[in-house]
């Protein structure tokens, strides 16, 4: 929330959730899928066992649309509360939490149809309604050839910047995903990881939300490690990956650990011909939220240990409960150049389809 005294930020926000309802998707769904929802009241089975964490479930209590519709479901209210208030230059949509086609276990035809409908709805109601908003391609990766068809169908849209993949029991470094990466490269799309329904806890859920939410970075660490050592970035040199909503303070540890392991065990992965930390610096970017409260010194030490301040990008996660306020979440006193990198330029350099910087007011 800005105040009158605060300068607009020219933010590139790498995690904003637009909210869809099944009703919204009806005009974009074909038969017989539409019938299952309208007549049979089908909804995707969701598994999270927890009571929801904050005052208004997973959302900011003040983000509910004034007429009572769910947070994130109304573009004008999002413009008022977020995009105009903060001064967003770009917002990247990462939506699709419920339904979430990529996390369906079974009935992949429905998952594929939902992903198609979702992408069409996202383009028409968000990307083409506000020039600041850019989108993520949703796919049902459970059917990779259908997923590739969907990437071919919408991936060339000028405002689609990444593909979100499911976090599940096929790790992304597996050759299973190569056709998807090939399609991504073809359309200048990056790969995005944002946790959703799937677990981070040995295939199940921990007993408490606080455990699950604490451990989200572990799922990110697994994917980073897997993608690097399986040689994905060697086979697809244009490919990059944005790790969304896992934070970034685990990265120094992971880089050091991977480098140390590589010195000992390089023989097992001879297709890796440079230090893992160099691959991470070149191919992977991390969003800030949810930020831990850190002093300026602690914050800067993290970048020093990463050997770069080019690979972290600010995200709000609006309208979710653990939203990070770009005016308040970062330590005070960061220098202007670092702020500019975190708030916009690192994301701009990461996504090739984002526009050049506009002149400041």
């Amino acid at each position: 929330m800005s105040t009158k005294q605060q300068k607009k930020l020219h933010l590139i926000d790498t995690d904003i959730h637009e909210k869809v309802t099944y009703e919204d998707l009806m005009p974009y769904l074909e038969q017989p899928y539409k019938r299952y929802i309208e007549d049979c009241h089908w909804i995707q089975e969701k598994h999270m066992p927890f009571t929801q964490p904050a005052v208004a479930g997973v959302n900011r209590a003040d983000a509910e649309v004034p007429d009572g519709r769910p947070a994130g479901s109304d573009l004008p209210f999002m413009q008022y509360q977020l995009l105009d208030d903060i001064g967003h230059e770009v917002g990247i949509l990462t939506g699709a939490l419920d339904p979430s086609p990529s996390s369906m276990h079974g009935w992949y035809e429905m998952a594929t149809a939902l992903a198609r409908a979702y992408n069409d709805w996202q383009i028409e109601h968000w990307l083409e309604k506000d020039e600041r908003l850019y989108g993520s391609v949703h796919i049902a990766a459970q059917e990779p050839h259908e997923a590739v068809k969907e990437i071919e169908r919408v991936g060339s849209h000028e405002k689609m910047v990444q593909i979100l993949l499911p976090i599940d029991d096929i790790m992304w470094g597996d050759p299973y995903y190569h056709p998807i990466f090939e399609a991504a490269e073809k359309h200048d799309l990056m790969i995005g990881m944002h946790h959703n329904e799937p677990p981070v806890y040995y295939g199940k859920w921990p007993r408490y939300f606080i455990e699950w939410h604490t451990l989200i970075p572990t799922a990110h660490m697994m994917i980073v490690t897997n993608m690097v050592f399986n040689g994905v970035f060697e086979k697809f040199p244009k490919l990059k990956m944005m790790m969304i909503e896992g934070g970034f303070t685990y990265v120094p540890f992971l880089m050091r650990k991977m480098d140390q392991q590589y010195r000992d065990l390089r023989h097992e992965v001879p297709w890796i011909q440079r230090m893992p930390s160099d691959i991470i610096r070149e191919h992977i970017c991390f969003t800030t939220q949810p930020l831990e409260e850190m002093s300026k010194k602690e914050f800067l030490q993290t970048f020093e240990q990463m050997g770069s301040d080019d690979m972290v990008s600010f995200s709000t996660d609006y309208p979710h409960w653990d939203y990070d306020n770009p005016y308040e979440a970062l330590p005070n006193g960061l220098d202007e150049e670092l702020m500019r990198k975190l708030l916009s330029e690192n994301a701009r350099n990461f996504y090739p389809k984002l526009p050049n910087r506009k002149e400041e007011d």
Binding site: M1, A54, A56, R60, A61, D62, W321, Y323
Partner: protein, 118 residues
């Protein structure tokens, strides 16, 4: 400096409202004891407007694993964003760490009015 921030009848126990004190946006809360409390309307964490949160109770600390003893309904103010819990009747101190508190103001009740002063 003193200022009328609301009427006593504006709030029932367990309710809150936004008001102003000088140039400050404040939140006036009426706790379960029927008394009025006032705080700066800004969370100390990331600046969320507390008046958009919720007045509720909270599970009491317990020595028994797995036990929930939900108590103090009407005495806890939770932030609308991250849900941090602040104790209305204990100077707005954070339940998770009492060293931290939201800024509180002096309040008196006079006739039918609630007055904040310093």
């Amino acid at each position: 400096m003193e200022e009328v921030v609301c009427s006593k009848e504006d709030l029932n126990p367990g309710e809150m409202m936004e008001s102003t004190f000088g140039r400050h946006s404040i939140v006036v809360c009426r706790a379960s004891d029927g008394h009025y409390y006032a705080f700066l309307n800004r969370c100390i964490h990331q600046g969320a407007p507390l008046s958009k949160g919720k007045i509720c109770g909270a599970p009491e600390p317990t020595d028994t694993l797995g036990e929930y003893n939900f108590d103090r309904e009407g005495d806890i103010l939770r932030c609308p964003w991250h849900g941090r819990e602040f104790d209305i009747r204990n100077e707005g101190r954070m339940l998770a760490n009492e060293k931290f508190k939201i800024k509180n103001f002096n309040v008196m009740e006079k006739n039918e009015q609630v007055i904040v002063y310093k």
